[in-house]
Symmetry: none
Subunit: 402 residues, 2 copies
């Protein structure tokens, strides 16, 4: 594959616009009764029309057989080889919550949890406490926790989730999780995974000890678990590589976080798909690349609710014309991974892709679905190639080599 | 992908013959009135028959979305990953003009151009002066330019093009272009891109100053622009890697140049396609691999002339039987890239491929065209894989691994 150094040499800035429309977890598996996937079951006249006009294919966002997390799935769609450009859970959560992460800071994702009198975990999510309670918990910790020479700060997320940020000299993110990933166990002691992290692990252990005291009467949220110690990944931006001025429209923190890592401007996205379209229209003149994220397809797949996922797809299809009426030069519709309702979670299956543009070479595909897109002109391919394809179709790439 | 070290271990010399037939820029885009590409519009009974007998597919020569220059497009067809095996414009031009380039020599591509009294470029190609005038210009420079300790030589190409060769000790090709790529600007000063190139940049600046004086009364060709300072790339040869004895039949310098870099013998190709076939027949017993290049398909695409490109394809189809009557063991028909008339230049679109051989696994494709080949047994694939496929189908590759 062509590298960023080569791309930089051939990328050019033009007024043409690229739209990346991600239906999270769009790929599925056939319903046993009908033999049709969620997407094939849904009535999607607008997506089908777009598929007819475009070139289609089936993509893997990481590599065949690999079930992508949200971060690598999106990095791939943004043109970054996801095995080369990895980052920890902590940084993604922090960026998604608009927490400032500077050079040298260490951030880690936290869950409030329930422990019994012996300190054994009985609920890894503390009964999914309301966000308001989570905020109270963080306030207690921010007031009570003190470490000499290091600023420690807690930021509440949704429900039981929070982010802890350590700021000071000589910190390292090479610290192991305290979350053992199973109930019925004690939290793990924070372990230095590298000699450079010895002090950070000690600081983390000190914080855990202080928290145990501060939270002991806060049942069910009487303890916390940490995972994904991480630092800000210093990756080249989409603007640096492709010369694009990119914007992200995503209601959920995680996706804003990944977008911020690759240097996108984060637009206020609202809550609903209609809000997102309004944000797109309001900012359409200011950017030449938009990433728009739709969560419901994944959420319903993760619930194992086939019919609700079908419904989420049809909801999207109804809104699509209001997006397309902007006449973007290149539109890509795809997912960051599959989330078959039958598997109640992310899966390794390829995702269907439409790329529609004036100069794409149309194929014979006339429906947006897994079986239909398999016959498309893009073949079965690596999603990381979509960014160069989008650039090419927007006439933003010069010739490579003499 | 399997590397050259592995290929070397399993390649064997046999009497079987491989023919790589390149129709330059063969891929196209549909005509808006008919929905058919140039290739699909052309009447090509012989190519269609070959497609029926062979295995087909759609290939990208660099990677998806990348518009290949001629050099990387061909390197890929010759089995060399084009992002790993790059070379400058200067070396390609020099080799194509049969200019000897030794170790340590630096060659650079030149354009005669027109500058006004202030030295501002008014025509980057000096009104495309005739080749005869170009020869006079080079003679003037060869007589007049002198640099102590370095041999400087100018070689005329077609029209306004020439090659400058520097021969001496301590030269480096890490010198920036003097061609600013736009009119209305002064030529750039030759800049050392690496400390090792300081002296070479000074020499180039000295030559430019001398040339300004020597050419000042030669309007419209009263100055020149330099680009692509380069050295002979020391790449392994096709013979070294594959054990083949390869020959090139190409009327145009550029393609002979790339072929020479990978160690092909350059056969006198004449001017016409019939001349090329005669060269093939005359030398058929002496080689086991032939690369035969057809330029007209690309030239007509670059002219934006859909009908003329169709005609060029039909011309080729008529001559094909006289090639196939040699009964080569493996025939590949493809292009180095697409050149849709609608885009008036090279493009990123995949190229249709036929591989016909006794032991290929036939597919259901019965026509040589973009839509037809998409359904072929090779799928959508990287053209760099064609060389191992050709070797395999010629029964020239032993088993890999125990």
């Amino acid at each position: 594959m062509i590298g960023f150094d080569e791309i930089r040499k051939i990328a050019q800035v033009t007024p043409s616009k690229i739209l990346l429309l991600v239906m999270d977890g769009i790929g599925g598996l056939p319903h046993p009764d009908t033999g049709k996937t969620e997407l094939e079951t849904a009535n999607t006249p607008n997506l089908d029309r777009l598929a007819s006009k475009g070139i289609c294919g089936m993509a893997y966002t990481v590599s065949p057989g690999i079930t992508p997390g949200s971060a690598p799935g999106h990095m791939s769609l943004f043109g970054y080889e996801p095995t080369m450009y990895q980052f920890g859970r902590g940084i993604v959560e922090a960026l998604g919550l608009d927490i400032e992460v500077g050079p040298g800071d260490v951030v880690v994702r936290g869950n409030f949890c329930t422990v019994d009198d012996d300190g054994v975990i009985t609920d890894r999510r503390a009964g999914r406490i309301p966000t308001e309670v989570c905020k109270e918990q963080c306030a207690i910790l921010n007031k009570g926790v003190a470490v000499s020479g290091t600023q420690v700060q807690f930021f509440a997320g949704k429900d039981h989730r929070f982010v802890m940020r350590l700021r000071g000299d000589g910190l390292s993110h090479h610290v192991g999780d305290t979350d053992p990933q199973h109930e019925g166990m004690h939290p793990l002691a924070p372990e230095a995974l590298d000699p450079s992290a010895t002090r950070t692990a000690e600081i983390a252990a000190d914080i855990v000890a202080q928290a145990r005291t501060l939270l002991k009467d806060r049942h069910p949220a009487n303890m916390f678990l940490l995972r994904g110690f991480s630092e800000h990944p210093d990756y080249p931006s989409i603007n640096d590589i492709y010369g694009l001025t990119p914007a992200c429209i995503a209601p959920y923190p995680m996706y804003r976080g990944v977008s911020r890592v690759v240097g996108m401007d984060i637009l206020p996205a609202g809550e609903t798909l209609e809000d997102e379209v309004a944000a797109l229209k309001k900012n359409y003149d200011k950017y030449d690349y938009f990433f728009m994220h739709y969560k419901k397809t994944d959420a319903k797949g993760e619930d194992g609710d086939f019919d609700a996922k079908v419904q989420a797809i049809e909801d999207y299809d109804r809104v699509l014309p209001s997006i397309l009426e902007l006449n973007p030069d290149v539109v890509i519709v795809t997912g960051d991974h599959s989330t078959p309702a039958g598997l109640v979670g992310h899966s390794w299956h390829t995702v269907p892709v439409i790329l529609s543009a004036k100069y794409c070479r149309r194929d014979e595909v006339t429906a947006y679905g897994e079986s239909a897109c398999l016959k498309g002109g893009l073949g079965v391919f690596a999603a990381v190639e979509l960014m160069p394809l989008a650039m090419a179709n927007a006439l933003k790439l010069n010739k490579f080599g003499a």
